[in-house]
Symmetry: C2
Subunit: 235 residues, 2 copies
């Protein structure tokens, strides 16, 4: 296998998998995202390290194919998981089209880390038995199906929703979700400057002002419930 | 911190996080699930290793509290992620009630690993912009909201759905999902005997006969689309 598509996890370099670290240490070329921890990039001691900052997706694909063709051990290190609203599939399609062998190493998604690190259980026996995950910025520019999301029971997780938070909250309330329903914004999960703010759907827009990305928005009463455990743990 | 609630990931011992492995190697007491890889249990070289097989959740909670009170370094190692339909929250509630300091280390959920390891992208620009996650066996015994799930667009992931697969498929079709919609069952993801079978919603019940758990059911045309990449990768 020449090219490995590897998830770096949410941020904390110790939340990378053992297999990912092994591949990073052995690779000859590392192509990494801006949000990947510097400690992980530093582990690629023998590699040419290339930041993908400023590259288009096509340029990244070309880079992977070019080094893959030469049989170099390439690691494409992506923030979070390569496929949870990442674009890992496009990179794989390019490799497959070029006939290059690849390996995938999944990473911890922010989605998965929310309960343990932010104290927000996405499901709860008494509150929510169902989780819906969407992205706040559709790749094709189309809007979310607010009417259906408003009527969907359980917890709603919105990736990349911070920039449009007030619009998202307004649309959900217009579509029938309660104004006093719990909501939370979790920014920079697992980083030293991680932050969790909880409020109601009506007040979350104001509460989250000034927060920095990457951030995930959680809508649902689990946000209120869980905060109790998180506060206790942090105390 | 005395007690760590740690996710072991989907099965492959190399898909555990660096932090998890560190804690396993240092711990004095390891309480582990049946589905955790033996290689990981073996890493706890200096620990008393206790299988939770046959214990009730209350008994596990008591065990964690008992060793935690004595200040022992305890790792509670759980399959997948402790909180994605796991019962990590109950263990934390018991620790909090007893005033014992704890740490959480998230694990790779099968949910997150599906795209990379089974070749099923849960979202896709042209097919599905939304993922719904439910468990096939509700803790409180109540049934799923079939009518709403049937009308929900995008990909549906059902944890622990294999045992009730035909019932799940029938109910979704009755609720309006297409009989020729894609469906897949992924069993023992990341283990050497992992298996992915794809079919349509109408035929998945027959196609999945004989498969062993743990398994996840995916309903949506992403199942059909993605199989192409997976086959190519495996070839």
């Amino acid at each position: 296998v020449s090219v490995a598509i590897v998830g770096a996890g949410p941020g904390d370099p110790k939340l990378v998998t053992v297999r990912a670290l092994e591949l990073i240490r052995e690779c000859e070329v590392l192509v990494y995202d801006r949000l990947v921890a510097q400690e992980l990039v530093a582990e690629a001691a023998h590699a040419a390290c290339i930041s993908r900052d400023g590259m288009t997706q096509d340029e990244i694909n070309e880079l992977l194919v070019r080094y893959g063709r030469r049989g170099r051990r390439v690691v494409r290190l992506k923030g979070g998981d390569p496929f949870v609203f990442g674009r890992g599939a496009e990179e794989i399609e390019a490799l497959v089209a070029a006939g290059i062998a690849y390996e995938v190493v999944p990473g911890l998604s922010t989605f998965t880390a929310l309960p343990g690190l932010a104290g927000i259980p996405l499901t709860h026996r008494e509150i929510a038995g169902r989780v819906t995950v969407v992205t706040g910025t559709n790749a094709d520019g189309s809007d979310l199906d607010w009417e259906h999301l408003g009527a969907t029971p359980g917890t709603l997780v919105v990736f990349m929703g911070l920039a449009r938070l007030e619009e998202i909250a307004d649309n959900l309330m217009l579509a029938g979700r309660r104004a006093d329903e719990g909501a939370a914004v979790v920014s920079r999960l697992s980083w030293p400057d991680a932050e969790v703010r909880t409020a109601t759907l009506e007040t979350i827009g104001a509460a989250a002002r000034g927060m920095r990305g990457p951030a995930v928005v959680v809508v649902g009463d689990v946000a209120l419930h869980a905060n109790r455990l998180f506060s206790l743990a942090a105390a």
